[in-house]
Protein backbone atom coordinates (compact mmCIF):
# COMPACT_ATOMS: atom_id res chain seq x y z
CA UNK A 1 0.00 0.00 0.00
CA UNK A 2 1.65 3.22 -1.07
CA UNK A 3 1.37 6.30 1.09
CA UNK A 4 2.97 8.69 -1.37
CA UNK A 5 2.97 8.36 -5.11
CA UNK A 6 4.65 10.72 -7.57
CA UNK A 7 3.37 10.46 -11.12
CA UNK A 8 5.37 11.90 -14.02
CA UNK A 9 6.46 14.92 -12.05
CA UNK A 10 8.10 17.70 -14.05
CA UNK A 11 9.38 21.08 -12.84
CA UNK A 12 11.00 23.73 -15.01
CA UNK A 13 12.79 26.88 -13.93
CA UNK A 14 12.92 29.13 -16.94
CA UNK A 15 14.60 27.02 -19.58
CA UNK A 16 16.08 24.57 -17.11
CA UNK A 17 14.25 21.32 -16.40
CA UNK A 18 15.08 20.62 -12.78
CA UNK A 19 12.84 17.58 -12.44
CA UNK A 20 11.97 15.58 -15.52
CA UNK A 21 9.13 13.08 -15.56
CA UNK A 22 9.90 11.46 -12.21
CA UNK A 23 7.64 8.75 -10.79
CA UNK A 24 8.05 6.61 -7.70
CA UNK A 25 6.16 5.39 -4.66
CA UNK A 26 6.77 5.25 -0.95
CA UNK A 27 5.08 2.31 0.73
CA UNK A 28 3.29 2.83 4.03
CA UNK A 29 5.83 2.47 6.82
CA UNK A 30 8.86 2.20 4.55
CA UNK A 31 12.15 4.11 4.46
CA UNK A 32 12.98 5.32 0.96
CA UNK A 33 16.18 7.09 -0.04
CA UNK A 34 16.50 9.57 -2.86
CA UNK A 35 20.09 9.73 -4.06
CA UNK A 36 22.00 11.25 -6.91
CA UNK A 37 24.71 13.79 -7.70
CA UNK A 38 24.47 17.30 -6.37
CA UNK A 39 22.25 19.46 -8.52
CA UNK A 40 20.37 16.42 -9.82
CA UNK A 41 17.07 17.81 -8.55
CA UNK A 42 16.54 15.81 -5.35
CA UNK A 43 15.73 18.78 -3.16
CA UNK A 44 13.48 20.14 -5.89
CA UNK A 45 11.47 16.90 -5.70
CA UNK A 46 11.10 17.48 -1.95
CA UNK A 47 10.06 21.06 -2.50
CA UNK A 48 7.42 19.88 -4.95
CA UNK A 49 6.03 17.37 -2.46
CA UNK A 50 5.84 19.94 0.33
CA UNK A 51 4.26 22.58 -1.87
CA UNK A 52 7.17 25.04 -1.82
CA UNK A 53 7.17 24.75 -5.60
CA UNK A 54 4.32 23.89 -7.95
CA UNK A 55 4.96 21.19 -10.57
CA UNK A 56 4.57 22.04 -14.26
CA UNK A 57 3.25 18.58 -14.96
CA UNK A 58 2.39 15.43 -13.09
CA UNK A 59 0.57 14.44 -9.93
CA UNK A 60 1.49 13.93 -6.32
CA UNK A 61 -0.88 11.56 -4.53
CA UNK A 62 -0.69 11.37 -0.74
CA UNK A 63 -2.91 8.82 0.91
CA UNK A 64 -5.13 8.68 -2.15
CA UNK A 65 -5.53 12.45 -2.44
CA UNK A 66 -3.83 14.75 -4.96
CA UNK A 67 -1.79 17.38 -3.10
CA UNK A 68 0.00 19.22 -5.92
CA UNK A 69 -1.00 22.88 -5.83
CA UNK A 70 -1.92 22.97 -2.16
CA UNK A 71 -0.19 25.42 0.16
CA UNK A 72 2.66 24.11 2.30
CA UNK A 73 0.96 24.52 5.67
CA UNK A 74 -2.06 22.62 4.35
CA UNK A 75 0.16 19.77 3.21
CA UNK A 76 1.83 19.71 6.63
CA UNK A 77 -1.54 19.48 8.33
CA UNK A 78 -2.41 16.56 6.06
CA UNK A 79 0.55 14.69 7.50
CA UNK A 80 3.77 15.48 5.61
CA UNK A 81 6.59 17.07 7.60
CA UNK A 82 10.09 17.93 6.52
CA UNK A 83 13.54 19.11 7.50
CA UNK A 84 15.69 21.42 5.43
CA UNK A 85 19.03 20.89 3.72
CA UNK A 86 20.39 24.13 5.12
CA UNK A 87 19.16 24.09 8.70
CA UNK A 88 16.23 26.45 9.13
CA UNK A 89 15.53 26.79 12.80
CA UNK A 90 14.02 29.80 14.56
CA UNK A 91 17.41 30.96 15.77
CA UNK A 92 16.37 33.37 18.48
CA UNK A 93 13.91 31.00 20.11
CA UNK A 94 14.58 28.14 22.50
CA UNK A 95 14.69 24.51 21.41
CA UNK A 96 11.33 23.97 23.10
CA UNK A 97 9.66 26.83 21.24
CA UNK A 98 11.05 25.49 17.98
CA UNK A 99 9.31 22.20 18.62
CA UNK A 100 6.12 23.98 19.70
CA UNK A 101 6.02 25.42 16.18
CA UNK A 102 5.45 21.90 14.98
CA UNK A 103 2.59 21.43 17.46
CA UNK A 104 0.92 24.53 16.05
CA UNK A 105 -0.99 22.83 13.25
CA UNK A 106 -2.64 20.40 15.67
CA UNK A 107 -3.88 23.22 17.89
CA UNK A 108 -6.95 25.37 17.47
CA UNK A 109 -7.00 28.39 19.76
CA UNK A 110 -6.83 31.79 18.15
CA UNK A 111 -6.80 35.45 19.11
CA UNK A 112 -9.78 35.17 21.43
CA UNK A 113 -8.54 32.05 23.19
CA UNK A 114 -5.12 33.62 23.62
CA UNK A 115 -6.44 36.86 25.08
CA UNK A 116 -8.97 35.32 27.42
CA UNK A 117 -7.29 32.02 28.30
CA UNK A 118 -10.32 29.82 27.91
CA UNK A 119 -10.19 26.40 29.60
CA UNK A 120 -9.89 24.74 26.19
CA UNK A 121 -6.94 26.96 25.36
CA UNK A 122 -5.18 26.14 28.63
CA UNK A 123 -5.65 22.43 28.16
CA UNK A 124 -4.39 22.64 24.61
CA UNK A 125 -1.28 24.57 25.69
CA UNK A 126 -0.50 22.01 28.34
CA UNK A 127 -0.87 19.13 25.91
CA UNK A 128 1.28 20.84 23.32
CA UNK A 129 3.98 21.45 25.90
CA UNK A 130 3.94 17.81 26.92
CA UNK A 131 4.14 16.65 23.35
CA UNK A 132 6.95 19.07 22.52
CA UNK A 133 8.98 17.85 25.51
CA UNK A 134 8.32 14.25 24.51
CA UNK A 135 9.60 14.91 20.98
CA UNK A 136 12.70 16.63 22.35
CA UNK A 137 13.30 13.57 24.48
CA UNK A 138 12.70 11.31 21.52
CA UNK A 139 15.57 12.87 19.55
CA UNK A 140 17.73 13.12 22.67
CA UNK A 141 17.52 16.85 23.34
CA UNK A 142 15.35 16.72 26.46
CA UNK A 143 18.05 18.41 28.50
CA UNK A 144 18.37 21.27 26.04
CA UNK A 145 14.75 22.47 26.04
CA UNK A 146 15.71 25.90 27.39
CA UNK A 147 18.72 26.40 25.14
CA UNK A 148 18.56 28.96 22.36
CA UNK A 149 18.50 26.89 19.18
CA UNK A 150 21.41 28.82 17.65
CA UNK A 151 23.55 27.76 20.62
CA UNK A 152 23.12 24.06 19.87
CA UNK A 153 25.83 22.16 18.08
CA UNK A 154 25.39 21.52 14.38
CA UNK A 155 24.38 17.92 14.82
CA UNK A 156 21.90 18.79 17.55
CA UNK A 157 20.37 21.48 15.35
CA UNK A 158 19.64 18.78 12.79
CA UNK A 159 18.01 16.68 15.51
CA UNK A 160 15.97 19.65 16.66
CA UNK A 161 14.63 20.08 13.13
CA UNK A 162 13.57 16.45 13.18
CA UNK A 163 11.84 16.96 16.55
CA UNK A 164 10.01 19.99 15.16
CA UNK A 165 8.90 17.98 12.15
CA UNK A 166 7.76 15.07 14.34
CA UNK A 167 5.71 17.44 16.50
CA UNK A 168 3.39 18.03 13.53
CA UNK A 169 2.39 14.36 13.96
CA UNK A 170 3.28 13.43 10.41
CA UNK A 171 2.56 10.21 8.62
CA UNK A 172 5.38 10.94 6.19
CA UNK A 173 8.65 12.47 7.33
CA UNK A 174 10.92 13.98 4.69
CA UNK A 175 14.58 14.41 5.68
CA UNK A 176 16.91 16.47 3.49
CA UNK A 177 20.50 15.41 4.19
CA UNK A 178 19.92 14.70 7.86
CA UNK A 179 23.50 13.51 8.42
CA UNK A 180 25.06 16.60 6.81
CA UNK A 181 27.72 17.88 9.19
CA UNK A 182 27.43 14.97 11.60
CA UNK A 183 30.39 12.88 12.70
CA UNK A 184 30.37 9.07 12.66
CA UNK A 185 28.93 8.66 16.15
CA UNK A 186 26.21 11.19 15.53
CA UNK A 187 25.37 9.51 12.23
CA UNK A 188 25.12 6.15 13.97
CA UNK A 189 22.65 7.47 16.49
CA UNK A 190 20.78 9.19 13.65
CA UNK A 191 20.36 5.79 12.02
CA UNK A 192 18.84 4.48 15.23
CA UNK A 193 16.60 7.55 15.43
CA UNK A 194 15.31 6.97 11.90
CA UNK A 195 14.56 3.35 12.78
CA UNK A 196 12.69 4.39 15.92
CA UNK A 197 10.72 6.88 13.84
CA UNK A 198 9.75 4.04 11.55
CA UNK A 199 8.71 2.03 14.61
CA UNK A 200 6.19 4.76 15.38
CA UNK A 201 4.55 3.94 12.06
CA UNK A 202 5.93 6.98 10.27
CA UNK A 203 7.03 6.59 6.67
CA UNK A 204 10.42 8.17 5.95
CA UNK A 205 11.71 9.65 2.71
CA UNK A 206 15.26 10.98 2.76
CA UNK A 207 18.01 12.54 0.70
CA UNK A 208 21.50 11.71 1.89
CA UNK A 209 25.05 11.72 0.57
CA UNK A 210 26.40 9.48 3.32
CA UNK A 211 26.24 6.17 1.45
CA UNK A 212 26.86 4.21 4.64
CA UNK A 213 23.67 5.58 6.16
CA UNK A 214 21.65 5.25 2.96
CA UNK A 215 22.65 1.65 2.35
CA UNK A 216 22.05 0.67 5.94
CA UNK A 217 18.74 2.30 6.64
CA UNK A 218 16.81 2.45 3.38
CA UNK A 219 14.66 -0.33 2.05
CA UNK A 220 14.35 1.22 -1.36
CA UNK A 221 16.48 3.73 -3.25
CA UNK A 222 15.52 6.03 -6.08
CA UNK A 223 18.43 7.42 -8.10
CA UNK A 224 18.11 10.74 -9.89
CA UNK A 225 20.49 12.28 -12.38
CA UNK A 226 19.95 15.51 -14.32
CA UNK A 227 16.40 15.69 -13.02
CA UNK A 228 15.38 12.26 -14.30
CA UNK A 229 15.05 8.95 -12.53
CA UNK A 230 17.72 6.51 -13.71
CA UNK A 231 17.21 3.63 -11.31
CA UNK A 232 15.05 2.33 -8.49
CA UNK A 233 15.50 -0.70 -6.29
CA UNK A 234 16.90 -2.15 -3.09
CA UNK A 235 20.31 -0.92 -1.91
CA UNK A 236 21.91 -4.15 -3.16
CA UNK A 237 20.36 -3.77 -6.61
CA UNK A 238 21.44 -0.14 -6.78
CA UNK A 239 25.03 -1.00 -5.82
CA UNK A 240 25.20 -3.36 -8.78
CA UNK A 241 23.39 -1.16 -11.28
CA UNK A 242 25.92 -0.14 -13.95
CA UNK A 243 24.17 3.12 -14.79
CA UNK A 244 24.26 4.21 -11.17
CA UNK A 245 27.89 3.28 -10.78
CA UNK A 246 28.77 5.30 -13.83
CA UNK A 247 26.73 8.33 -12.92
CA UNK A 248 27.13 8.54 -9.22
CA UNK A 249 29.39 6.20 -7.38
CA UNK A 250 32.21 6.48 -9.87
CA UNK A 251 34.40 3.59 -10.89
CA UNK A 252 35.57 2.17 -7.61
CA UNK A 253 39.24 1.91 -8.32
CA UNK A 254 40.52 1.74 -4.80
CA UNK A 255 37.98 3.03 -2.35
CA UNK A 256 36.15 1.07 0.32
Amino acid sequence: MSLLRLENLTKKFGGLTAVNNVSFESGQGSIVGLIGPNGAGKTTVFNLITGNYQPNEGNIIFDGQPIAGLLTHKIVSMGIARTFQTIRLFKNLSALENVLAGCHCRMKSGIFGGMFRTPAQKREEREALEQALAELDFVGLGEQADVLSSNLSYGNQRLLEIARALATRPRLLILDEPAGGMNEQETDSLIRLIRRTQDRGITVLLIEHDMGLVMEVCEKLVVIEYGGKIAEGTPDEIKENPRVIEAYLGTEEEDE
Binding site: L93, A101, C105, G114, L133, G155
Partner: protein, 332 residues
Protein backbone atom coordinates in the same frame (compact mmCIF):
# COMPACT_ATOMS: atom_id res chain seq x y z
CA UNK B 1 20.62 22.12 33.82
CA UNK B 2 16.92 22.39 33.49
CA UNK B 3 15.27 24.56 36.03
CA UNK B 4 11.70 25.31 36.71
CA UNK B 5 12.11 28.97 35.88
CA UNK B 6 8.39 29.66 36.21
CA UNK B 7 8.71 29.43 39.97
CA UNK B 8 11.22 32.21 40.21
CA UNK B 9 9.87 35.67 40.72
CA UNK B 10 11.99 38.07 38.67
CA UNK B 11 12.94 41.35 40.30
CA UNK B 12 11.68 43.29 37.35
CA UNK B 13 8.09 42.54 38.38
CA UNK B 14 8.66 44.68 41.47
CA UNK B 15 9.77 47.54 39.23
CA UNK B 16 6.67 47.10 37.07
CA UNK B 17 4.53 47.20 40.21
CA UNK B 18 6.08 50.44 41.40
CA UNK B 19 5.61 52.00 37.96
CA UNK B 20 1.96 50.96 37.92
CA UNK B 21 1.35 52.53 41.34
CA UNK B 22 3.12 55.74 40.27
CA UNK B 23 1.00 55.88 37.14
CA UNK B 24 -2.18 55.34 39.13
CA UNK B 25 -1.53 58.40 41.30
CA UNK B 26 0.29 60.57 38.77
CA UNK B 27 -2.57 63.06 38.11
CA UNK B 28 -2.70 63.89 41.80
CA UNK B 29 0.89 65.07 41.66
CA UNK B 30 0.93 66.80 38.29
CA UNK B 31 -0.66 69.94 36.87
CA UNK B 32 -3.01 69.70 33.93
CA UNK B 33 -0.27 70.42 31.37
CA UNK B 34 1.82 67.47 32.45
CA UNK B 35 -1.23 65.30 32.88
CA UNK B 36 -2.02 66.03 29.28
CA UNK B 37 1.52 65.13 28.28
CA UNK B 38 0.98 61.79 30.00
CA UNK B 39 -2.32 61.44 28.16
CA UNK B 40 -0.42 61.73 24.90
CA UNK B 41 2.14 59.25 26.17
CA UNK B 42 -0.71 56.86 26.93
CA UNK B 43 -2.26 57.22 23.48
CA UNK B 44 1.07 56.59 21.80
CA UNK B 45 1.76 53.70 24.14
CA UNK B 46 -1.41 51.98 22.96
CA UNK B 47 -0.67 52.86 19.35
CA UNK B 48 2.82 51.48 19.87
CA UNK B 49 1.46 48.28 21.36
CA UNK B 50 -0.88 47.83 18.41
CA UNK B 51 1.93 48.43 15.92
CA UNK B 52 4.20 46.18 17.97
CA UNK B 53 2.09 43.20 16.92
CA UNK B 54 2.95 43.97 13.31
CA UNK B 55 6.49 45.31 13.54
CA UNK B 56 7.82 43.76 16.72
CA UNK B 57 6.24 40.35 16.78
CA UNK B 58 5.71 39.62 13.10
CA UNK B 59 8.69 41.58 11.78
CA UNK B 60 6.60 43.31 9.12
CA UNK B 61 7.79 46.77 8.11
CA UNK B 62 4.85 49.07 8.62
CA UNK B 63 5.55 52.77 8.29
CA UNK B 64 1.95 53.69 7.59
CA UNK B 65 0.21 52.86 10.83
CA UNK B 66 -1.15 56.41 11.06
CA UNK B 67 -3.54 55.50 8.25
CA UNK B 68 -5.36 53.03 10.51
CA UNK B 69 -5.30 55.50 13.38
CA UNK B 70 -6.85 58.04 11.00
CA UNK B 71 -9.49 55.56 9.87
CA UNK B 72 -10.64 55.09 13.44
CA UNK B 73 -10.55 58.78 14.28
CA UNK B 74 -12.51 59.78 11.18
CA UNK B 75 -15.03 56.98 11.58
CA UNK B 76 -15.76 58.20 15.10
CA UNK B 77 -15.78 61.85 14.03
CA UNK B 78 -18.15 61.31 11.12
CA UNK B 79 -20.58 59.02 12.92
CA UNK B 80 -20.54 61.18 16.03
CA UNK B 81 -21.07 64.53 14.31
CA UNK B 82 -23.62 63.24 11.79
CA UNK B 83 -25.65 60.83 13.88
CA UNK B 84 -24.79 61.94 17.44
CA UNK B 85 -23.80 58.42 18.42
CA UNK B 86 -21.92 58.52 21.76
CA UNK B 87 -18.18 58.26 21.34
CA UNK B 88 -17.59 55.19 23.46
CA UNK B 89 -20.24 53.23 21.57
CA UNK B 90 -18.26 53.99 18.43
CA UNK B 91 -15.18 52.12 19.60
CA UNK B 92 -16.29 48.85 17.97
CA UNK B 93 -17.30 50.67 14.78
CA UNK B 94 -13.89 52.35 14.55
CA UNK B 95 -12.12 49.07 15.21
CA UNK B 96 -14.19 47.43 12.52
CA UNK B 97 -13.58 50.09 9.86
CA UNK B 98 -9.86 50.26 10.54
CA UNK B 99 -9.58 46.47 10.66
CA UNK B 100 -11.61 45.99 7.51
CA UNK B 101 -9.60 48.64 5.73
CA UNK B 102 -6.37 46.91 6.80
CA UNK B 103 -7.73 43.63 5.50
CA UNK B 104 -8.61 45.09 2.12
CA UNK B 105 -5.31 46.84 1.54
CA UNK B 106 -3.05 44.24 3.13
CA UNK B 107 -4.56 41.24 1.37
CA UNK B 108 -2.90 41.82 -2.01
CA UNK B 109 0.41 43.15 -0.68
CA UNK B 110 1.06 40.98 2.35
CA UNK B 111 3.42 38.64 0.46
CA UNK B 112 5.77 41.47 -0.51
CA UNK B 113 9.19 41.31 1.07
CA UNK B 114 10.16 43.68 3.86
CA UNK B 115 11.33 46.84 2.18
CA UNK B 116 8.66 46.68 -0.48
CA UNK B 117 6.00 46.31 2.16
CA UNK B 118 7.54 49.30 3.90
CA UNK B 119 7.16 51.64 0.93
CA UNK B 120 3.66 50.38 0.23
CA UNK B 121 2.58 51.13 3.80
CA UNK B 122 4.11 54.59 3.50
CA UNK B 123 2.23 54.96 0.22
CA UNK B 124 -1.07 53.87 1.74
CA UNK B 125 -0.55 56.33 4.58
CA UNK B 126 0.00 59.13 2.08
CA UNK B 127 -2.94 58.11 -0.12
CA UNK B 128 -5.22 58.23 2.92
CA UNK B 129 -3.93 61.63 3.97
CA UNK B 130 -4.38 63.01 0.47
CA UNK B 131 -7.84 61.47 0.27
CA UNK B 132 -8.79 63.18 3.54
CA UNK B 133 -7.44 66.52 2.32
CA UNK B 134 -9.39 66.17 -0.91
CA UNK B 135 -12.58 65.62 1.08
CA UNK B 136 -13.21 62.19 -0.34
CA UNK B 137 -16.95 61.32 -0.65
CA UNK B 138 -17.58 64.81 0.71
CA UNK B 139 -17.54 63.59 4.30
CA UNK B 140 -14.04 64.25 5.63
CA UNK B 141 -14.17 68.03 5.71
CA UNK B 142 -11.07 68.49 3.52
CA UNK B 143 -7.93 70.10 4.87
CA UNK B 144 -9.78 71.64 7.83
CA UNK B 145 -11.07 68.33 9.06
CA UNK B 146 -14.12 67.74 11.22
CA UNK B 147 -15.08 69.91 14.23
CA UNK B 148 -17.39 69.48 17.13
CA UNK B 149 -16.80 65.92 18.16
CA UNK B 150 -18.40 65.25 21.51
CA UNK B 151 -16.68 64.18 24.70
CA UNK B 152 -16.98 60.60 25.87
CA UNK B 153 -19.57 59.84 28.52
CA UNK B 154 -18.93 56.97 30.90
CA UNK B 155 -21.67 55.89 33.36
CA UNK B 156 -23.29 59.30 33.02
CA UNK B 157 -19.99 61.05 33.73
CA UNK B 158 -18.78 63.35 30.98
CA UNK B 159 -15.06 63.03 30.51
CA UNK B 160 -13.72 66.51 30.06
CA UNK B 161 -10.70 67.40 32.16
CA UNK B 162 -7.18 66.13 31.52
CA UNK B 163 -7.16 63.93 34.62
CA UNK B 164 -10.45 62.35 33.57
CA UNK B 165 -9.01 61.57 30.18
CA UNK B 166 -5.92 60.35 31.94
CA UNK B 167 -7.83 57.57 33.64
CA UNK B 168 -9.81 56.72 30.53
CA UNK B 169 -6.66 56.45 28.45
CA UNK B 170 -4.53 54.62 30.97
CA UNK B 171 -7.24 52.13 31.84
CA UNK B 172 -7.50 51.47 28.12
CA UNK B 173 -3.72 51.07 28.09
CA UNK B 174 -3.81 48.69 31.06
CA UNK B 175 -6.45 46.54 29.40
CA UNK B 176 -4.39 46.53 26.22
CA UNK B 177 -1.25 45.49 28.10
CA UNK B 178 -3.13 42.73 29.86
CA UNK B 179 -4.71 41.30 26.72
CA UNK B 180 -1.64 41.67 24.54
CA UNK B 181 0.58 40.12 27.18
CA UNK B 182 -1.63 37.05 27.18
CA UNK B 183 -1.84 37.08 23.42
CA UNK B 184 1.92 37.14 22.91
CA UNK B 185 2.26 34.20 25.28
CA UNK B 186 -0.17 32.10 23.31
CA UNK B 187 -0.25 30.03 20.16
CA UNK B 188 -1.09 33.18 18.22
CA UNK B 189 1.85 35.15 19.60
CA UNK B 190 4.28 32.33 18.96
CA UNK B 191 3.05 31.97 15.39
CA UNK B 192 3.86 35.63 14.73
CA UNK B 193 7.38 35.11 16.08
CA UNK B 194 7.92 32.03 13.96
CA UNK B 195 7.10 33.87 10.79
CA UNK B 196 9.31 36.77 11.85
CA UNK B 197 12.24 34.41 12.40
CA UNK B 198 11.95 32.37 9.21
CA UNK B 199 8.91 32.43 7.00
CA UNK B 200 9.77 29.34 4.98
CA UNK B 201 10.44 27.28 8.10
CA UNK B 202 7.23 28.54 9.70
CA UNK B 203 5.16 27.57 6.68
CA UNK B 204 7.01 24.25 6.58
CA UNK B 205 6.08 23.64 10.21
CA UNK B 206 2.43 23.92 9.32
CA UNK B 207 1.79 27.59 10.06
CA UNK B 208 -0.43 29.53 7.68
CA UNK B 209 1.93 32.48 7.42
CA UNK B 210 -0.27 34.56 5.13
CA UNK B 211 -3.16 34.27 7.59
CA UNK B 212 -1.06 35.29 10.57
CA UNK B 213 0.48 38.25 8.79
CA UNK B 214 -2.97 39.45 7.85
CA UNK B 215 -4.31 38.77 11.33
CA UNK B 216 -1.49 40.82 12.88
CA UNK B 217 -2.20 43.66 10.47
CA UNK B 218 -5.94 43.60 11.06
CA UNK B 219 -5.73 43.32 14.85
CA UNK B 220 -3.07 46.04 15.04
CA UNK B 221 -5.13 48.28 12.77
CA UNK B 222 -8.35 47.69 14.69
CA UNK B 223 -6.64 48.61 17.93
CA UNK B 224 -5.14 51.75 16.40
CA UNK B 225 -8.64 52.59 15.16
CA UNK B 226 -9.95 52.52 18.72
CA UNK B 227 -7.13 54.82 19.85
CA UNK B 228 -8.22 57.11 17.03
CA UNK B 229 -11.68 57.31 18.56
CA UNK B 230 -10.32 58.37 21.94
CA UNK B 231 -8.05 60.87 20.24
CA UNK B 232 -10.94 62.37 18.26
CA UNK B 233 -13.02 62.93 21.36
CA UNK B 234 -10.07 64.27 23.31
CA UNK B 235 -9.22 66.86 20.65
CA UNK B 236 -12.85 67.37 19.54
CA UNK B 237 -11.43 67.95 16.07
CA UNK B 238 -9.67 65.73 13.55
CA UNK B 239 -7.70 66.94 10.55
CA UNK B 240 -5.48 65.22 7.98
CA UNK B 241 -2.24 66.70 9.29
CA UNK B 242 -2.62 64.81 12.56
CA UNK B 243 -2.07 61.60 10.65
CA UNK B 244 0.92 62.35 8.46
CA UNK B 245 4.00 60.26 7.83
CA UNK B 246 5.80 61.50 10.92
CA UNK B 247 3.09 60.10 13.15
CA UNK B 248 3.83 56.68 11.68
CA UNK B 249 7.54 57.29 12.13
CA UNK B 250 7.01 58.18 15.80
CA UNK B 251 5.05 54.98 16.43
CA UNK B 252 7.64 52.91 14.61
CA UNK B 253 10.55 54.59 16.36
CA UNK B 254 9.19 54.26 19.86
CA UNK B 255 8.91 50.51 19.38
CA UNK B 256 12.43 50.01 18.13
CA UNK B 257 13.89 52.41 20.66
CA UNK B 258 12.04 50.87 23.59
CA UNK B 259 12.50 47.26 22.58
CA UNK B 260 10.86 45.59 19.62
CA UNK B 261 8.48 42.82 20.65
CA UNK B 262 8.51 43.84 24.31
CA UNK B 263 5.53 45.39 26.11
CA UNK B 264 7.60 47.17 28.81
CA UNK B 265 9.89 48.29 25.99
CA UNK B 266 7.05 49.88 24.03
CA UNK B 267 5.76 51.69 27.12
CA UNK B 268 9.25 52.95 27.85
CA UNK B 269 9.58 54.02 24.22
CA UNK B 270 6.35 56.01 24.42
CA UNK B 271 7.60 57.85 27.51
CA UNK B 272 10.90 58.67 25.86
CA UNK B 273 9.63 59.70 22.44
CA UNK B 274 6.57 61.65 23.58
CA UNK B 275 7.59 62.68 27.06
CA UNK B 276 11.23 63.57 26.72
CA UNK B 277 10.89 66.24 24.00
CA UNK B 278 8.43 68.00 26.34
CA UNK B 279 11.09 68.07 29.01
CA UNK B 280 13.45 69.77 26.57
CA UNK B 281 10.92 72.34 25.43
CA UNK B 282 13.29 75.06 26.58
CA UNK B 283 15.70 74.23 23.80
CA UNK B 284 13.01 75.17 21.28
CA UNK B 285 14.59 74.87 17.85
CA UNK B 286 17.43 72.56 18.73
CA UNK B 287 14.99 70.10 20.29
CA UNK B 288 14.31 68.07 17.18
CA UNK B 289 17.95 68.25 16.16
CA UNK B 290 18.98 66.70 19.45
CA UNK B 291 16.14 64.21 19.18
CA UNK B 292 17.35 62.99 15.76
CA UNK B 293 20.93 62.68 16.96
CA UNK B 294 19.75 60.85 20.07
CA UNK B 295 17.96 58.28 17.93
CA UNK B 296 21.20 57.56 16.09
CA UNK B 297 23.28 57.38 19.27
CA UNK B 298 20.72 55.19 20.98
CA UNK B 299 20.73 52.67 18.15
CA UNK B 300 24.51 52.54 18.13
CA UNK B 301 24.78 51.80 21.82
CA UNK B 302 21.68 49.66 22.26
CA UNK B 303 20.37 48.41 18.93
CA UNK B 304 18.02 45.88 20.54
CA UNK B 305 16.25 48.73 22.35
CA UNK B 306 16.22 49.75 25.99
CA UNK B 307 14.09 46.88 27.29
CA UNK B 308 14.29 43.97 24.86
CA UNK B 309 11.82 41.11 25.33
CA UNK B 310 12.52 38.31 27.77
CA UNK B 311 12.24 34.73 26.59
CA UNK B 312 8.84 33.17 27.20
CA UNK B 313 8.57 30.85 30.15
CA UNK B 314 7.10 27.41 30.16
CA UNK B 315 6.44 25.22 33.14
CA UNK B 316 8.87 22.44 32.31
CA UNK B 317 8.29 19.57 34.70
CA UNK B 318 11.35 17.90 36.16
CA UNK B 319 11.75 14.67 34.38
CA UNK B 320 12.80 11.36 35.71
CA UNK B 321 16.04 10.47 34.04
CA UNK B 322 15.33 6.78 34.08
CA UNK B 323 12.26 7.29 31.97
CA UNK B 324 14.14 8.75 29.06
CA UNK B 325 13.06 7.44 25.71
CA UNK B 326 16.26 8.46 24.04
CA UNK B 327 19.36 6.39 24.18
CA UNK B 328 21.89 9.18 23.88
CA UNK B 329 22.04 12.08 26.25
CA UNK B 330 22.23 15.26 24.23
CA UNK B 331 25.76 16.21 23.36
CA UNK B 332 26.78 19.78 23.76
Amino acid sequence: MMQNTAEKFPKRYIVYGICAVLLAFAPLLLDSYWTDVLNNVGLYAILGLSLNLIVGHSGLFNLGHAAFYAMGAYTAAILNTLFKIPILLLLPASALTAGLFALIIARPIIHLRGDYLCIVTIGVGEIIRIALINDIFGITGGANGIFGISRPVLFGLKINKPYEFYYLIWIFAAVTVFLFFRLENSRFGRALNYLREDEVAAEGSGINTAYYKLAAFVLGAAWAGMVGTIYASKMMIVSPESFNFWESVIMFTLIILGGSGSIPGVLMGAFLIIGLPEVFRGFANARMLIFGAAMVVMMIFRPQGILPPHPRKYPIPRMDKTNRMSENEGTS
